[in-house]
Each structure stands twice: as C-alpha cells, then as structure tokens.
Symmetry: C2
Subunit: 336 residues, 2 copies
C-alpha cells in the first residue's frame, strides 16, 4: 500500500494548529492537573510537578480536547477527563523510568534518579488513583470503562515488553502488539472519551478510537526510527538510546530480518548487551541504512498515519479536523 | 482509658467463625480472583498467583463478605467487589516489597526477589487496573468513589511513610496518620462497600467504615507489637524484622519517648541503621519491656478494637455480628 498524505499549505506540517485550537481548554486542563496533584505530603506535588511541568507536549489530553472540538462539544466535562488521561500517562512514565532504570527523560534528569525508585513507584500509584477519582467525579461509567480498560491494557503491554526484552527474534507482529498496548491504547481512549462526553453515536466513538490508535502507532514508530537517525536532537531523546539499551524496535527487527548471517549475529549481540559502544552504534546505523530499515519503519508510520486521517474522514470539515489531520502529518514527518 | 473486651466462650478468640461464615461466598471471590488475574502474558498470572495463592488470609475481602452478611444482603455483587479489594491490596503489597526491598513475605520469597522489581511494579499496575475494571463492571459510582479514594489515600500514606522513614522523632500522631492511610483506609472501604451494595442508609455505611477503620488500626498496632515479642513466629513474620529495617513503629515511639538520654541515643542509632545486630535487638527488647512500650502498644490496639466492636453495636445480633466481634478480639489477642 502506498500511503499518500497531501500537504496543501506551503509550510511543513506542524502541531501548532492543534495547540492553538485547544489553547483555552488546555488552560483549564492545566489548572485541573495542578489542583489535583496537590497533597499534604510535599514530596507528591514536588515529584509529580517535576515531570508534569517538565516540558511534555500534553499530547494525550490535547487529543481529548481536539476530538471534543471536532464534535462541537460545548461543555467542560472533558477538562477534568483530559487531566485524568494525563495522570495515567504520567504514572506510566514514572513507572517506566523505574523499570528501565532511565536517568534522562525529555532532556531532564528522571524523577527516579532524583528522588529514588520507591518515591517514583508510590507517586505513580498516587497519580493513578487520582486519575480514577477524577473520572468518578465526572460520573460516566462508560468513560470509566474505556479508561480502566486502557490502563489494564497498558500495564499488560508493559509486562509483555518486559518479557520480550532483549529478544532479537521478537518479530514485527509482537512488536506491534506491544506498542498497540503501551502507546496506542491511551491515544485511542483519549480520543474516544470525547465522543462519550459529547453523547455521540457509537460509530463516532469507534472512528475517534481508530484515529487515536493509528496516530499512536505512527507516533511510536517514528520515535523508534528517530533513534537511528544520527543527527536527531528531537524530542529530548538522543540518537542511539534505544540501541544502547538493547531495545528491539522496528528498525532493528527489519534490519535483522533483511541482514546477512554476520549482520544477524551483530544484532543479536547488540540487543543482548554485548555491543553498545559508539562504533557499534555507527555500524548499526550503516546496517539500518543498507537495509532501508529506517525508511521502511517510516513508511509503516505513514501507513498508520493515513489510516488515522481516513478514520476521521466522515467528520465535518473545519479547523478542528484540519488541525487533527495536520497533527498526524506532523507526527509522521518529525524524522525528516 | 481501660478498654474491656469480654469473651463469653470458653476458648481463645479465633478468626474461624468469620472464615466459616463467609466460606461459601469466599469460593466465589476466589473464582473471580483467579479468573480476573489471567492474561495472555504468562508472567502476569504466574507472578500474581505467587502472592495471591500464597497463604494470605484474605482479610479484606472477608470483611466485605462478613459485612454483607451482617446486613442480610442476599445478592452476589459483593463477590466481584471483594475480588477488586483483594487486587488493590495485592498491588499494594507488590509495590511495598519493591519499595522496602523486602525478600520475604508470609514466609515465602517475595515476587521482586524471584522476578525482579520491574515485573513486580508492572504486575502491580495491572492488578490495580483490573480492580477498577471489576468495579466498573459492577457499575456503582458510589463504590467506585469509595475505593478510588481509598487507593489515593493508601498511596499518599505510603509516600508519607517513605518521607518519614528512619526518623526517630516521628511521634504517635504522625504514625497513626500513616497507618490510618496505609492499612485502615482499605479495611474501612472493604466494610463500607457492603452497605452500599446492600443499599443501606448512610449511617450504616458510616458504622461499617468505623468498624473496618478501627479494626485496621488495631490490626496494624498488634503487627507492630509482635515484632518486639521475641518468640513470635506468628504471621510469617520474624521478630526483629521491623527493628533491623529501622522502622519507626509505636513500640519504638513509646520506648523512645519514655527512655533515658542514653536510650534515646540507642533508638536514634537503631532507626538510622547503625545498630541492627542480634545483641542490639536483644537490647531493644529489654528497653521496650522496661518502658512497657509493647504492653501499651497492645493497650492502644485494644482501645481501637473496642471502638470497632462498639461501631457495630447497633446492628442486630446473630452469627455475623458475633463473628465480626470475635475477629476483633482475635486481632488484638494475637500477640499473647
């Protein structure tokens, strides 16, 4: 399949139109986030604030807000729910960094590095509980069902990823299963709940779910590709981080599948932690280039991006839809 | 205050009457637990099963079931909710053991020791999400509110405890605040939701909440006292565990408050990790004896136990009430 995404404007695709679209709503979401991460225990807002104020794009709550705009929703319920979505995401990041033993996130020192693993685990639990309190306050069992299910799927995906760690024979299907669970599920839920709040018919819920899910996959694929694009300073992430941690992402899976016996031995050694030096990474870059593994990871991303755009095809044209389409284009174009 | 708890029977108080009272219901709860801890990812039921099948008393779900009996509730909704309560508890234990770096729980090797911290963190998250899915399936927003609030309070209490770790100047009030949050809140919620499911008036909810909360505090106080009773093999916990980990529990707080300047220096050194040998523990035992710190911790426990019993005073007499009263008597008598 040849995915074609048309840009009509005379500028590169950007997230700006979506950011502008939801700017007013986002102020309300940020207020809810700040309000609800408070606690009598000073360490909680301190640690949570480090990550929440720490330059994240608020991609998931932004999707809730943009989806609500697309549907012409005029209420305020989605502000609190978008905050709940961001809390789930933040809790996941805190636990992820503990699991991976990471020391940098978005170019800053991670919470676990500063406050230790125990604090990160427990503040993550707190934010996760708070997210459910926010949903309960909203009172929609349908929203609660969507987000509690997404949370379970995310946790399941994280365990799946953990058991698949450093296995060079992972394969594209299981890799997709993992990113579907750990990334795309929350993107999908974030969009879907807007349709529930706006009391739209099931098919619009499903369409927004598909938009979010496919965007989430595209987003993750591009993230994984960027790690093998040598001049990337994008996203607060350094090129080679995944490689040095032995992560089996799609560029690796494709380069491994397409490589010679010698190349395969190299990749196996790399993901099992026996090759993680600068010269090893340089060799890895040369292998992903030779096998077109990054190009094709990005082609896969464009495929899912196109599906995201088509999923919202039936909705009325306008600023919201334009912004949502351009957000996808931006997501898949980041690596160029 | 002199707490007096009367035993009419000619045998020591036991948990058996409560276990028998709810045996049939507990089979349904166990079936729900087993069913809902399943996953496509084998590590999840394996790790969760280690702890869930590992000889816990199922104290919290048992309280939901007994409370429902007390109210004459004849439905089945509480089975699923009792499973949700046990999942919250299990998730907390998994994360606790990571936070404390524990290697033994209930006399068995901990999950984090066998499968590592990352797996314990993530499977905890999974069980926590599953507990919310179970509640959402039940569909009561009131139950969801009670349990999501309890979860947030537990997490907050755990962070509070973490920031208070190894501080000899903790004081009884802050200690009570911590055990109220990390232990008593879930006991209270477990009892309270029975009244919601049985559609009883607010005052019965409040009464069951008070029963659970006071029982929870009594339970924790006795646990903390047992650590300083030298021949304790009770509860799969060894005497001296808390001491060696530098935990500031009520026996320590009382012995410190009542001790000489020399004793205080000893306790400060002990909780700060500079005295954790066998001879140090023997000296600690002699100090808690001399200051009656264990006796008075148990007297405090009896005080809360009596409040638990009085909280359910207004309910009709019968097997359920007798079993719930005896469970309290058992809880406070364990250390003798």
């Amino acid at each position: 399949m040849t995915a074609t995404i048309h840009r009509l404007a005379d500028r590169p695709p950007s997230l700006e139109p979506m950011i502008e679209l939801v700017a007013g709503d986002m102020n309300m979401v940020n207020a809810a986030i700040l309000d609800r991460m408070q606690s009598q225990i000073p360490l909680i807002p301190e640690l949570a604030g480090h990550l929440i104020a720490g330059g994240g794009k608020r991609m998931r709550p932004m999707l809730t807000l943009a989806s609500a705009r697309l549907l012409g929703y005029m209420g305020t319920r989605h502000h609190r729910l978008a905050a709940a979505v961001e809390f789930i995401h933040t809790a996941t990041l805190l636990h992820d960094d503990v699991v991976d033993g990471s020391d940098l996130r978005r170019g800053k020192r991670t919470a676990n590095l500063i406050w230790g693993n125990p604090a990160s685990v427990l503040v993550g639990d707190f934010l996760f509980s708070r997210s459910f309190e926010l949903m309960v306050e909203d009172g929609s069992l349908k929203v609660l069902k969507i987000l509690s299910n997404a949370s379970a799927v995310i946790a399941e995906g994280e365990v799946n990823q953990l058991t698949a760690a450093r296995r060079i024979d992972l394969g594209e299907d299981r890799y997709l299963e993992i990113i579907n669970a750990k990334t795309a599920a929350l993107f999908a839920a974030a969009c879907r709940i807007a349709a529930v709040v706006a009391e739209r018919p099931e098919e619009e819920e499903v369409a927004l779910d598909a938009y979010g899910r496919n965007l989430g996959i595209a987003f993750q694929l591009v993230d994984d590709a960027i790690d093998y694009v040598s001049d990337a300073g994008t996203m607060g992430k350094d090129a080679g981080d995944d490689f040095r941690e032995g992560k089996v992402t799609l560029p690796v899976i494709l380069a491994y599948a397409r490589g010679s016996a010698t190349d395969r031995t190299f990749w196996k050694d790399a993901v099992e932690g026996r090759r993680d030096g600068d010269e090893d990474f340089a060799h890895a870059i040369s292998l992903v280039r030779a096998t077109r593994a990054v190009d094709d990871t990005l082609a896969r991303a464009r495929h899912y991006g196109q599906r995201a755009i088509d999923a919202i095809g039936p909705f009325a044209s306008g600023k919201a839809k334009d912004a949502m389409v351009e957000a996808v284009e931006f997501a898949v174009a980041r690596a160029y």
